[in-house]
């Protein structure tokens, strides 16, 4: 492949409202955390430049999405052309864990990847800094889920205390890159929506 081409990896982050998607991204991209909750409206992306994956330098385009149904984006089909999908739940909220399946299915439909079986997902169980007694989803249960869905990598994170965030995104980047490279061979299906996006910088919908 044309190796020195700049690689842009598109990552979609999904999960119930309030599980900490925006916080995780903020922590990863700008090392900041806020206790305040402000619902994401529509969808928006942050870019992380110069991410090293082995000997490659890549740019990550991280799409943060609204967990609340009423704020979900109607705009551009930004799921298309994604290279990795991150599913986030709150380890202290069983419902958010149970919703992962639907988020995953919804992603697959919206993105319709060529080979759904091999499409990379990563599951993050967030807010592990909260006291143990509040924990509602055991690590074992989460791992069992990930195993059943085709060995999805799993991380327990805290956006607040910056636990495991970098490690998780490293794997996300690596898997996204692998996906991107495998797609390069098989894409005979030009994607106008994706092209459109590139012009539409800063594009919230």
């Amino acid at each position: 492949m044309s190796s020195r081409k700049k690689t842009m990896l598109k990552v979609i982050i999904l999960g119930d409202s309030g599980v900490g998607k925006t916080s995780l991204m903020q922590q990863y991209v700008s090392k900041k955390f806020s206790n305040q909750y402000k619902a994401t409206i529509g969808a928006d992306f942050l870019t992380k430049q110069d991410v090293r994956v082995d000997d490659r330098n890549v740019t990550m385009q991280l799409w943060d999405t609204a967990g609340q149904e009423r704020f979900q984006s109607l705009g551009v089909a930004f799921y298309r052309g994604a290279d990795c999908c991150v599913l986030v739940y709150d380890v202290n909220n069983a419902k958010s864990f149970e919703a992962l399946d639907s988020w995953r299915d919804e992603f697959l439909i919206q993105a319709s990847p060529r080979d759904p079986e091999s499409f990379p997902f990563v599951v993050l169980g967030n807010k592990i800094d909260v006291e143990e007694s509040k924990r509602a989803v055991s690590q074992k249960r989460a791992l069992a889920f990930c195993q059943a869905k085709g060995n999805i990598p799993y991380f327990e994170t805290s956006a607040k205390e910056a636990i495991n965030v970098d490690q998780a995104f490293e794997v996300i980047a690596r898997n996204a890159l692998a996906q991107e490279e495998s797609e390069e061979y098989s894409s005979d299906f030009s994607d106008p929506i994706n092209i459109h996006l590139d012009n539409d910088r800063g594009g919230c919908c």
Partner: protein, 1123 residues
């Protein structure tokens, strides 16, 4: 070619006269002649007529001329009139003549002055800028007519710029008053002048341009000679925002020979530049070239250039042609032939003139223009035009635009540009039916018949009828005319016959029904149900695995049959047979070829429809499409379907109020409103989701699962048919579950497990797993389907009814128990244990039932095993444990069920008697039946409670049993109902009396017995020594009691004294505040205010405390607060 403008001849002068300049206002046309004469005409717009041929001389102009000559001033000016323009706000008519600019009154035409400094003038330009009372921003393509009226004008600034030699002379009017002038020296002699902003003028040289900022007197070149346009960015100093004002600059660039031309396009703040080398767009907003824009291609360099909303007009070098272009698409839309044109007045009322004739360019309505473009199949142009013009010119603009884009998308589709086509369909939120119509039935699910319905032709066409009567021999949709092609297809079909014979003899009815379906006039979906049901039923009935396989192939075959029979003959080959031989589980790869054939069959008819609708649009037939192209078409359809799915979901939430209008607007970037998909969103959603399913099945079967598990609106019958066809059983089960069609799901699972043909579904595991997901509301269904698995293995019952899930716990326990009871006592027992011990159910019924079940278990097992076998002993222990631990059962009931004389239940019985308060009977069991005085004592210790009458005497009762055993007990023939014998007070020789145990009891628990009562029971001949311990413990106990009571009496006395002391102390501290008591500081009543009490018992207001403290010195130091 479009006819945007129609030239209307308005003036024709005599051969002696020569036109040199024209200028038009709303209703006047000023014509300047070479002789220096001026003619003024009134233009009557109402008479606008369109005579398309300007070369035919207007013979009867005089009669019907739209121009009425108002006046002719022969000696208007001495020299020839070179240029003529007006300033409407300043009411000035400007005339260039004899190298000077002259000013006249626009209304009276009275001479005003000669601008002396303009000596050597060659060209001039004007602009006027209006400022409105309420500043507002005009949208870029506001039509001139829609602009604010004169009444709103607060201030107008008009400018005149005259180019004379290397100077620009600038004049400025405010209202009608000339307020100033200035001179700007420029590097070259300008040949054309174009205002690009009210205070900024573009000067054209031979090939180059420069921009002059008039207030700043600043000159910036933007164009270097010989270099291609766009290579140089013109750098203009900061361009001020232009809010609240509009400009109308003077007309077309003049026609000076070899001159760089420019025309301003006010709609998007740009300027089109044309010189002899090239053309370019320049932004007057940013002052740089617009890189995104291409060049306009002129055949030869135009001699004149102008703009008339929304077109660029140009006159060819020879003056013979006027060309009309759309600046957005660069396309030449119209070219009008004239005798040599020499003058051009652009803008709102464009006029052109030769040396003797003047034509008004009468604009045809935009609606007509659009219609015309559509008629000529210039869809792109029609779209560009409609996008370019304002709402006011085109009624129903947005829906027309949408329609055009949809047609455009259809054409793109026919040109195999699927991705673009689908993106365009998505952009306008096209109705799903319309998009799907482009696809074969395998995708759209729409049989030809329903299309016939839509067209209102309910009566079957002859073809259709024949198709029906033909039964299984009919092939495909009725629309295929009985041409040679059809016969060919039939031939092909005959060749294929050998492969099909088996299948069709096997199930001829099925095949014919489905064929008839495809052609029947009524909606086909309802017909699918019986077919498929029949299929699956037979699938269930058959036991022969081979036959099953054949049936499967039939389903599969039916899907593929249209290919076999109808696709153009060359395409049919053995691959179909290969496809049929493969597993029914969809293998896209092996499918794709046969599928392509199949799809292309469907296409031919749909494409035909598309063709007829699009008129004679260019069309490459479906036959040229190979399988790959069709797969791509299906893949691209996803773009549209996914978009539509999301939008419809959003609209549905809006309609149902799940989201608010505000949320909707916040997240919707597309122009989408409720009407986009029609009123029946549910129906549209069904069409979209079902089509999505069909696409996935063909190109990405792995996504079927996610789709059917998510909330979806897929049509139930279509899903069933499709998924069965491809053996996607677990997906179908998921779909049913999602839709709460549990009966269907279970029926399917049962069929699958019975048929044993799909190994994955063998055995009852799938049914069990499904049942586990159901709750109370489906209890009957659970019972219906649970019976079989449970009969196979009771563990399934545990999984279904005793899982640790909310579903299992929601089930009605009574009913589950009743369900299990006849099936298995062991399972029932397990279930009852689960709810009693596991779930802590406190209903007495379950406790009773559990006890009774244990009882039964003991009884049955006792007949099979010896009584000390675990099989017997285990339930015995369980029973005992339950009876001891639970307090919910009804002892009588259980007692009644116990066999009278079984030794297995003695202890249990004792517990039961105890529960009933019948301690005596309980003790009788220990003493007589079990002869276990240890247990008897333990029992007493457990029960004894000196405060409860019935329990107080329990030791006495035991003693009595030892010393006065009932007669029957002696023979060990004790029964539950045995009457107690009368006490024979005089006869102490009781048979079976157990003195030893009695003495043991007395010595250990003597204190819990009344000594008197105990002694009375003892035989008179007992040795006192044997009672020593009894008395001792009795005495010790009594002494302990006495001592304890003394201590507590003393303690209580001490407490009393302490409390009295406290009372006295507290009493001494009080102050009394009566209604009349005053504060000694302020002498006001204390009332109920906050007060301060000093140690000396003085009471003051809290606020007065400080004053009091100061006045009374150190004496009052501590301040207590109180209310």
């Amino acid at each position: 070619m479009l006819r945007a403008f129609a030239p209307v001849p308005v003036v024709e002068l005599s051969s002696k006269e020569r036109i040199q300049a024209i200028y038009s206002t709303n209703d006047r046309l000023f014509v300047g002649l070479a002789s220096g004469a001026l003619k003024v005409y009134e233009i009557d717009d109402s008479q606008a007529l369109s005579d398309p041929d300007p070369s035919s001389a207007p013979s009867d102009t005089s009669k019907r001329s739209p121009a009425k000559l108002l006046t002719t001033i022969d000696k208007f000016i001495k020299g020839s009139i070179e240029q003529l323009l007006g300033l409407e706000e300043a009411r000035v008519l400007i005339v260039l003549s004899g190298g000077y600019v002259h000013l006249y009154d626009l209304d009276t035409l009275a001479y005003q002055e000669r601008l002396h400094r303009t000596k050597g003038a060659v060209v001039f330009a004007t602009s006027s800028e209006l400022e409105f009372k309420t500043p507002f921003a005009l949208p870029p393509n506001t039509a001139p007519e829609k602009r604010p009226s004169v009444a709103d004008v607060q201030r107008s600034v008009s400018r005149l710029v005259v180019a004379a030699k290397k100077k620009l002379h600038c004049y400025e009017w405010q209202g009608a008053e000339l307020i100033g002038s200035k001179e700007i020296t420029v590097p070259e002699r300008p040949r054309s002048l174009t205002f690009i902003k009210p205070d900024r003028i573009l000067c054209g040289l031979v090939v180059e341009y420069f921009v002059v900022d008039i207030p700043a007197s600043q000159v910036s070149p933007i164009f270097a000679a010989g270099r291609p346009v766009g290579a140089i960015d013109g750098v203009l100093a900061g361009v001020a925002a232009n809010i609240g004002s509009i400009t109308s600059s003077s007309s077309a660039s003049s026609r000076k020979q070899g001159c760089a031309l420019a025309a301003r396009l006010p709609e998007d703040e740009s300027v089109v530049l044309v010189n002899e080398f090239s053309s370019a767009f320049f932004s007057s907003e940013t002052g740089s070239f617009m890189k995104s824009k291409r060049q306009i291609k002129f055949k030869d360099v135009p001699s004149m250039l102008g703009y008339s909303y929304p077109f660029v007009l140009s006159v060819t070098a020879n003056g013979k042609k006027l060309e009309v272009r759309n600046p957005k698409t660069y396309t030449l839309l119209q070219s009008i032939n004239f005798p040599t044109l020499q003058h051009f007045n652009d803008g709102k009322n464009p006029f052109v003139a030769s040396s003797r004739q003047i034509w008004k360019l009468s604009r045809r309505s935009f609606e007509e223009q659009i219609e015309e473009l559509i008629g000529q199949n210039q869809l792109d142009e029609a779209i560009a035009l409609i996008e370019n013009v304002d709402d006011v010119f085109v009624s129903d603009r947005s829906s027309k635009l949408r329609e055009l884009k949809m047609r455009r998308a259809e054409i793109l589709f026919s040109k195999l540009k699927f991705s673009q086509s689908m993106t365009l369909f998505s952009e306008v939120s096209a109705p799903p039916e319309r998009v799907l119509k482009l696809y074969p039935e395998a995708i759209s699910g729409v049989a030809e018949s329903s299309e016939a319905m839509k067209n209102g032709t309910d009566i079957p066409t002859p073809e259709e009828t024949s198709a029906e009567t033909n039964g299984e021999k009919s092939h495909g949709p009725a629309e295929v005319p009985p041409t040679s092609e059809a016969t060919e297809a039939e031939k092909v079909d005959d060749e294929e016959r050998p492969d099909e014979v088996e299948a069709s003899t096997d199930a001829p009815t099925d095949a014919s029904t489905s064929k008839a379906d495809a052609n029947s006039v009524s909606p086909s979906q309802t017909h699918d149900i019986p077919t498929i049901t029949a299929d699956t039923v037979s699938l269930a009935d058959s036991t022969n695995a081979e036959a099953q396989k054949k049936k499967d192939l039939e389903i599969f075959d039916r899907f593929l049959r249209p290919t076999t029979s109808n696709s153009s003959s060359s395409k049919v080959d053995n691959r179909n047979a290969v496809g049929q031989g493969s597993r029914p589980a969809a293998d896209t790869l092996s499918l794709s070829d046969s599928l392509a054939n199949f799809l292309s069959f469907g296409k031919s008819s749909t494409m035909r429809t598309a063709r007829s609708e699009l008129g004679n649009a260019e069309y490459t037939g479906p036959d040229s499409m190979d399988g790959k192209a069709l797969m791509k078409a299906v893949r691209c359809l996803l773009i549209y379907l996914i978009d539509a799915r999301r939008k419809i979901a959003r609209l549905t939430s809006l309609q149902s109020g799940t989201i608010t209008e505000e949320d909707f607007d916040r997240t919707a970037s597309a122009k989408l409103n409720l009407a986009s998909y029609g009123s029946d969103l549910e129906k549209e959603a069904c069409i979209v989701d079902t089509a999505l399913l069909r696409c996935y099945i063909i190109i990405n079967p792995q996504l079927v699962g996610p789709l059917v598990r998510l909330p979806n609106h897929c049509d139930k019958n279509a899903v069933r048919q499709q998924l069965l066809m491809y053996g996607k059983y677990s997906e179908l089960v998921d779909f049913y579950f999602n839709k709460k069609l549990h009966g269907d799901a279970l029926a399917l699972l049962k069929q699958l497990s019975d048929s044993k043909k799909v190994s994955e579904f063998n055995g009852p595991e799938h049914i069990v797993r499904y049942l586990q997901k159901l709750g109370q509301e489906h209890l009957d269904l659970i019972f219906e389907y649970a019976k079989e698995p449970v009969n196979i293995n009771e563990e399934y019952g545990v999984e279904i009814f005793m899982a640790n899930t909310p579903e299992a716990e929601s089930l009605s326990r009574k009913r589950v128990e009743q369900f299990l009871l006849p099936i298995s006592r062991k399972l029932t027992m397990k279930y009852l244990e689960h709810i009693v011990f596991g779930l802590n159910d406190l209903s007495p019924d379950f406790h009773n039932d559990l006890a009774l079940t244990y009882l039964e278990d003991v009884k049955t097992n006792a007949q099979l095993y010896s009584s000390d076998d675990e099989m017997v002993q285990r339930p015995v222990r369980k029973l005992l444990r339950l009876l001891r631990e639970s307090s919910q059962y009804r002892p009588e009931k259980i007692l009644a069920a116990m066999p009278r004389d079984s030794s297995l239940f003695m202890e249990s019985k004792a517990v039961l008697f105890s529960r009933l308060g019948e301690h005596k009977r309980a003790l009788e069991i220990f003493v007589f039946s079990m002869k276990d005085s240890q247990k008897a004592q333990e029992y007493c210790m457990n029960v004894y409670d000196s405060d409860v009458p019935n329990s107080k005497s329990v030791f006495y009762t035991l003693l009595e049993l030892y010393l006065r055993p009932p007669a029957k007990a002696a023979t060990n023939g004790y029964g539950a109902t045995a009457p107690s014998l009368p006490t024979l007070r005089d006869n102490f020789d009781y048979p079976g009396m157990n003195l030893e145990a009695a003495l043991e009891l007395l010595s250990q628990h003597g204190s819990r017995l009344s000594a008197v009562d105990a002694l009375e029971l003892l035989p008179p001949d007992i040795k006192l020594t044997s009672l020593g311990q009894f008395f001792e413990s009795h005495l010790r106990e009594t002494n302990t009691t006495i001592n304890r009571d003394r201590i507590s009496a003393a303690l209580l006395k001490a407490e009393l004294v302490r409390t009295q002391q406290l009372l006295v102390k507290l009493k001494s501290k009080n102050v009394i505040i009566s209604d009349t008591k005053l504060c000694p500081v302020c002498l006001k009543r204390l009332g109920s205010s906050v007060i301060s009490v000093f140690p000396n018992r003085t009471v003051v207001h809290y606020g007065c405390a400080k004053a009091y403290k100061e006045s009374s010195g150190p004496r009052a130091q501590t301040v207590e607060k109180d209310e």
